[in-house]
Symmetry: C2
Subunit: 306 residues, 2 copies
């Protein structure tokens, strides 16, 4: 595979989005602003997801885009994905230190060593704050929660679908392993049908998370062997490397053992989540149907705005 | 003034919100989760603000909850409010350092010195990413932009209206000083009328920002003397210290000089912003009308859900 056309496509797609006023550069790689038109598509898609799940009885919660540092430590995020983490630091010193920070900033020097850690980190996936809520004994049939949140991943990139800060619409299911896997399988079909109905050429595949380092390659291979992660893929930037626009993770008892979650039969519970990458779906629609939603196929418009 | 009843009120209000399922503790002080009912109130109020401003022609943009570190440095945020800042740090090391982070976390040791700064900080006010967009010569009449974003303030508190992470709905006006001040004055009346129409006992007052340290006290006094900041206040936690639920800042040429913004007459432009604290408005409504929105006065319900 030749990288040249791929790079070309990234630049032209990014530039087209800027020229059509759909995104606004901010100086952050993977941190652009979104226009009203971009947001309208994103919100309409999110509403379509809500309508699709209307009869499932999911409970809605909204969390701020920060999680406790202890949560990140407890679930092993820094063991697995340290390269993507976002740790929040602040200033807790006295006036002399504050003056020194000002002096260094105005002198163009670095000043981060004068900060202290706070008790929070940035939310790495929208589902993270949900698992501690499930601690203890679940009701018969388990539980289903849905969230929408901004998440942070430290992977600066000019590729418009690879963002440092983006929104995930997630559903989180907890119950017995059978309940959880049946739910995941049902949503895999549903997600393909939903995205396909919007005229996107999607396909699903077994996938793995971006575990860090040499040990991480083993973790990723094991995750694939066990078929714990699936993605729904759609070509956005490249035909050869389609973009994951929806992903499904079965965590087995990873979160349940960390937070003491038991199913109604007193066994260790199982958890799974699925998440739509809302900016990625929006970008896939813009790529496939054109940069002006008014000219999109009638059946796609009817689904989103009908 | 006696602090005892105030503290008592904070605890009972927080506990009532938890017991009615309106908020969910997360372990972060000032970082609780919000229920579907809480969010519905918040979103309906935000929609009411949009309807109120429908004819103003504001352009909508949506920014991620991060800003470039250089932006924070350039506008002097660390000179004025270092104690509220949120700096994002991440892991950029090799496998040996990653292993050491894991080891320290599992040993309960501190590990933040193994991180590096990133190019971003947390958004301290929803308007910050907007000012660089105005660089250069403005059109006749200036511009008006509106945003809604999560902002971060490092001030952990158990007081439910004092959040580390919350949403601001802002309008940002840029133009000649006369245009900007006339707009600010118009919105001060409008904001009072809007919040009053929801049955909230609001009043406006001259205010100041929480500038840091001894030098900060001088800055705050000067800001008050010049009447640059106003707030709309409503008793939520205490009668004696009402809560600011909307604030108005006239920055004169602070941002215009940093970003080279000139009005159509080639003079240095002026900027002003106003922001509704969406969680604070929601909490004020819950405090004054009760914890179940179904039982709120009909005229308030008609305004929000009508």
């Amino acid at each position: 595979m030749n990288d040249a056309p791929r790079t070309f496509d990234i630049e032209t797609f990014y530039q087209s989005l800027v020229e059509h006023g759909l995104i606004v550069p901010t100086g952050i790689r993977g941190g652009y602003g979104r226009s009203a038109v971009f947001e309208d598509i994103l919100n309409r898609f999110n509403d379509l997801v809500s309508r699709t799940a209307a009869d499932d009885g999911a409970q809605w919660f909204t969390f701020p885009p920060i999680v406790p540092r202890t949560l990140i430590e407890k679930v092993g995020y820094m063991d697995n994905f340290p390269q993507l983490s976002g740790s929040v630091h602040s200033f807790c010193g006295d006036e002399a230190v504050a003056k020194e920070i000002s002096r260094r900033i105005h002198a163009g020097e670095r000043w981060e060593d004068l900060l202290d850690i706070t008790e929070v980190m940035l939310t790495p996936a929208a589902c993270y704050p949900v698992y501690p809520m499930f601690s203890g004994l679940l009701p018969q049939g388990g539980r289903l929660v849905t969230v929408l949140n901004w998440v942070y991943r430290h992977e600066p990139s000019d590729e418009p679908t690879r963002l440092q800060s983006f929104r995930m619409r997630e559903f989180i299911r907890v119950g017995t392993p059978d309940e959880v896997v049946a739910w995941r399988n049902q949503w895999l079909d549903r997600g393909l049908a939903l995205l396909g109905s919007l005229g996107l050429p999607v396909a699903s595949d077994v996938a793995s998370d971006p575990f860090f380092g040499r040990g991480g390659r083993f973790m990723a291979a094991s995750q694939k062997d066990q078929r714990l992660k699936f993605e729904i893929l759609c070509p956005v930037i490249s035909q050869e490397k389609p973009t994951a626009i929806c992903s499904f993770n079965w965590h087995q008892d990873h979160f349940s053992s960390a937070f003491g979650i038991r199913s109604a039969d007193q066994q260790m519970a199982s958890t799974a989540c699925l998440g739509f990458g809302l900016e990625r779906v929006t970008l896939a629609l813009l790529k496939h149907h054109g940069l002006d939603p008014k000219t999109w196929p009638a059946e796609v418009r009817a689904q989103l705005w009908g």
